[in-house]
Amino acid sequence: MTHSFPWLTALIILPLIGAAAVFFVRDASARLVALAVAVADLLISLPLWWLFDASSGNMQFMESALWISSPPIHYRLGLDGISLPLVLMTTVLMPLCILISWHSIESRVRSFMAMLLIMEGAMIGVFSALDFVLFYVFWEAMLIPMYLLIGVWGGPNRLYAAIKFFLYTLAGSVLLLVAILVLYFQGGHTFDILQLSQGSYSKALQFWLFLAFFAAFAVKVPMFPFHTWLPDAHVEAPTAGSVILASILLKMGTYGFVRFSLPMLPDASQAFTPLMVVLSIIAIIYGAYMALAQADLKKLIAYSSVSHMGFVTLGLFMFNIQGIEGAVMQMVNHGITTGGLFLCVGVIYERTHSRQIADNIGLTKPMPRYATFLVIFSLSSLGLPGTNSFVGEFMVLIGTFLWSKIATAFASLGIILAAAYLLWMVQRVAFGVPAPHMLPKLRDVNLREMVTLVPLVLLIFMIGLFPNPILTRMHPSVEKVIGRFLPPAVEQVSTVSQGLHSDAGFTSTEAEAKQP
């Protein structure tokens, strides 16, 4: 890999160095240092968008080095059309998270910023790791920073929420470790994700591995019925923590499904499709109903996340191009939109110190700009045409329609309900009559908060109106995933020369990745 700059290593290392660096400055400057690091990381990541070869579904910007020699574990990174948008989403959101915490975090600022930066490095690592053990290391490494973010800087019930988050996700992911080890011995003694994605495993093995993967990924997504940690964690976490949780951490679960479960275990994925679809639809409808009933803004958005992530898991298990592309699209969209909503809650919480809808009514008069942002993010979240979520959810529904019309009908209920709970929320928060004693507190959005919110609004409309740049980049990679679900007749032909093909396929992957 002599061809170019180690982009991904730089992206991962820079925040980690930044996390160490903030401890050497004073609290006041820690914010600036952290922001500078996050912005620098964003600037490094932006060129990747244009350097990325959209015509190829292979891993690009690959880096590989031997990490542990026995068993062979590599430090191997790379991006394809599925992980590229997620990495960029991470680097875009992190500076915003730091900005929104500028004044709301007053105690132990340095540690807080360090935790955010460690999270950033680990999350980029998760999305770009191409070695299963490396992936697991990044996957688990973010548990402790997140635990501390919730537990140290969180709300009144933070201890409970923090340990619940930690134990839920840890219990899910320990089974993933066993599955990784089993795959190593069954899949030709390798932890290489690309190589493992080309192997074929017996149906029985796939069944168990799928369940183990499911335990890890479904808790993270979170799918119904493993979602109960999410409302607690969201409500108690500081704003930046909620944004990271909702926008990036949840995506790791669905990313796990599309990167591992689908390509490695195609037979089991198909066998489990009915279950996955049912759970997804339950999540869509149940999440929406729960959101309707919430009086707490953060809880409302948390349950709306459960509902929206249901669309993602639904789309993934359709095994057609519309479904999976829509799902990946929706992963990015949910990150942007829900991130924006949580930022909005953070802004109002800084002023009124309440997240209750009842305490925050009638904000249009005193805070017109704020109300505008809230309305835009809400409309995007409910999938208004012209905004980003419309593209994603529409594609998922088309994909579902091709598979089952009844499932589509049920899933569509989620969109209607989303309109109900979001518009109702907007109606109360934006268009009521504010309590007189609250008025002095209701200062409108300041410049720093504008800087935080505007990029997301731009992204909402850019993706909503011109989704093609993202779609073209992910198209070849998604096709590659779908290639694992070829009809039996074609599969037969390819199994005859499986060894030859998979070898050739693997080397060409690397060869092509070498070319910039």
Binding site: W67, S70, A141, L143, A162, L177, V178, L181, F185
Partner: protein, 488 residues
């Protein structure tokens, strides 16, 4: 049996350690108190020389004294680990004894004598030599556990440790004698040869295996032979507890593995079933009982019991695998366990609450405000003990579980990992107390950490091991794999 003078050179490290121990014991009464620090430096210097000598013995196995002792990479691995732990213990004790006002020059002598016993244990190729080493180690530890003469708990710990230790030594000796009766030898290679022709169902062999397993079970503190551990760990001076939890466990594992792999390798099918039961019981009980502890030393005691359970997974796997990956995973696990456990005990030893040693978990309340660095180090040790990457604890668990999966016991890995998730609860409770709780009111004094240069060295070594081997374990992995190659 002939005596070759050349053999003395092979056991030069052992001789040096014993000589240093004697010098310390003799010089202590005649030295002025202000000069007694010299004894510490003498002990550390000896360890440094031994480390160099042992590192040069990492080549092919050489038998000495007609096969009573074997000098091989396997023993050298354990010895290097033991020197390291002993060095840390001496450094920690230097601060701890002053703080606790325990002035005993003999202390360092006993540490070195215990080390000599452990060194004999890991390089002995004869059951009686192993027994000698075990006794030398145990007798020194009995004395050290009771060093806080004014404190009843310390005396109770010492007495309890002595009674149960003597009992277990008796069982071990009984097992050795039965094995001698069955095979006609106490040499491990000769026992292996004698066994190879025998049936697995031979009651005498089976009984001897069980007795040896029980005897070693006491030393390793695996369930159900763990009863002494929490009481002794709690009562003993903390520096001694750290030494016991790490060094004595490592040496016992060293001798135990050699006996069961080299000597009783033919009975793999029998003993791996026994250890499977012990392993499951240890994992479950160690982790579950640790959940309800309020005393940090007792919590760490149960945690060390649970960790012996994880190491046993490697032993069980070794019993079912043709290759040596199970054994090397045990070596690796114990080596990595050393850093995190010793680091945790070092912080416990130096934590002061209202002027006395703070042993309750509650005493850590708000440590992160008062001593952010110490709290961060404790956080790293706890995370590592819980086995979360990127720390050494994860690497250790990874290799142990890998050998279990390789041996076809995926279910064992699943159970062990679920209990690893359980263990995260009690390790994180300490993190929670340190970081997320404030001292209840102003009169409640904040915990203090008595810092000293030697403590800084100890903590730096421990945290460096946890972090470096968590990020780049390759050298240690290679060392562990080479060390077991010559184990027959």
């Amino acid at each position: 049996m002939t005596f070759a003078v050349g053999d003395l050179f092979l056991i030069l490290p052992e001789l040096l350690v014993i000589t240093a121990a004697c010098i310390v014991l003799v010089l202590d009464p005649v030295l002025r108190p202000s000069d007694k620090d010299g004894l510490v430096w003498l002990s550390l210097g000896t360890l440094a020389i031994c480390m160099g000598l042992t590192a040069s013995q990492m080549s092919a196995p050489v038998e000495a004294f007609s096969g009573l002792v074997v000098i091989d990479p396997y023993g050298a691995f354990w010895k290097l680990l033991l020197y390291f732990v002993t060095g840390l213990t001496i450094l920690l004790s230097h601060s701890y004894l002053k703080e606790e006002r325990l002035y005993f020059g003999e202390y360092y002598g006993f540490v070195l004598l215990a080390l000599a016993g452990m060194m004999v244990m890991v390089s002995a190729a004869d059951l009686l030599t192993i027994y000698l080493g075990t006794e030398l180690m145990s007798l020194s530890l009995y004395v050290m556990a009771g060093l806080k003469r004014s404190e009843p708990r310390s005396l109770e710990a010492s007495a309890k440790y002595f009674v149960l230790g003597a009992f277990s030594s008796g069982i071990l000796l009984y097992g050795i004698s039965l094995l001698y009766g069955a095979t006609g030898s106490t040499r491990l290679p000769a026992i292996a040869t004698a066994i190879s022709g025998r049936s697995l169902d031979d009651p005498l062999l089976l009984f001897a295996t069980i007795l040896l397993a029980v005897g070693f079970g006491f030393k390793l503190a695996v369930v159900p032979f763990h009863m002494w551990t929490p009481d002794v760990y709690e009562g003993a001076p903390t520096s001694v507890t750290a030494f016991m939890a790490v060094a004595s466990k490592a040496a016992s594992f060293g001798a135990f593995l050699r006996v069961f792999i080299e000597g009783l390798g033919g009975l793999k099918a029998n003993w791996s079933a026994i250890f499977l039961l012990l392993c499951l019981a240890t994992l479950v009980l160690g982790n579950v009982v640790a959940l309800v502890q309020t005393n940090i030393k007792r919590m760490l005691a149960y945690s060390s019991i649970a960790h012996a359970g994880y190491a046993l997974i490697g032993v069980v796997a070794a019993g079912r695998l043709a290759n040596s990956s199970g054994i090397s995973s045990v070596l690796l696990y114990l080596a990595l366990y050393t850093f995190m456990t010793f680091g945790a005990f070092a912080i416990v030893a130096m934590l002061r609450k209202d002027g006395i040693e703070g042993n309750e978990i509650e005493d850590f309340t708000g440590l992160s405000k008062r001593h952010p660095v110490a709290a961060l180090l404790m956080l790293i040790f706890m995370v590592s003990l819980a086995g979360i990457p990127p720390t050494a604890g994860f690497i250790g668990k990874f290799y142990v579980f890998m050998s279990a999966v390789e041996a076809g016991m995926t279910w064992l890995a699943v159970i062990a990992l679920i209990f690893a998730a359980v263990s995260a609860y009690y390790y994180l409770r300490l993190v929670m107390v340190m970081y997320m709780r404030e001292p209840s009111d102003v009169t409640d004094s904040a915990p203090q950490l008595v810092m000293s240069p030697t403590l800084s060295i100890v903590l730096a070594c421990a945290v460096a091991g946890v972090v470096i081997f968590g990020l780049y374990p390759n050298p240690l992995v290679q060392l562990a794999m080479q060390a077991v190659l010559t184990l027959r």
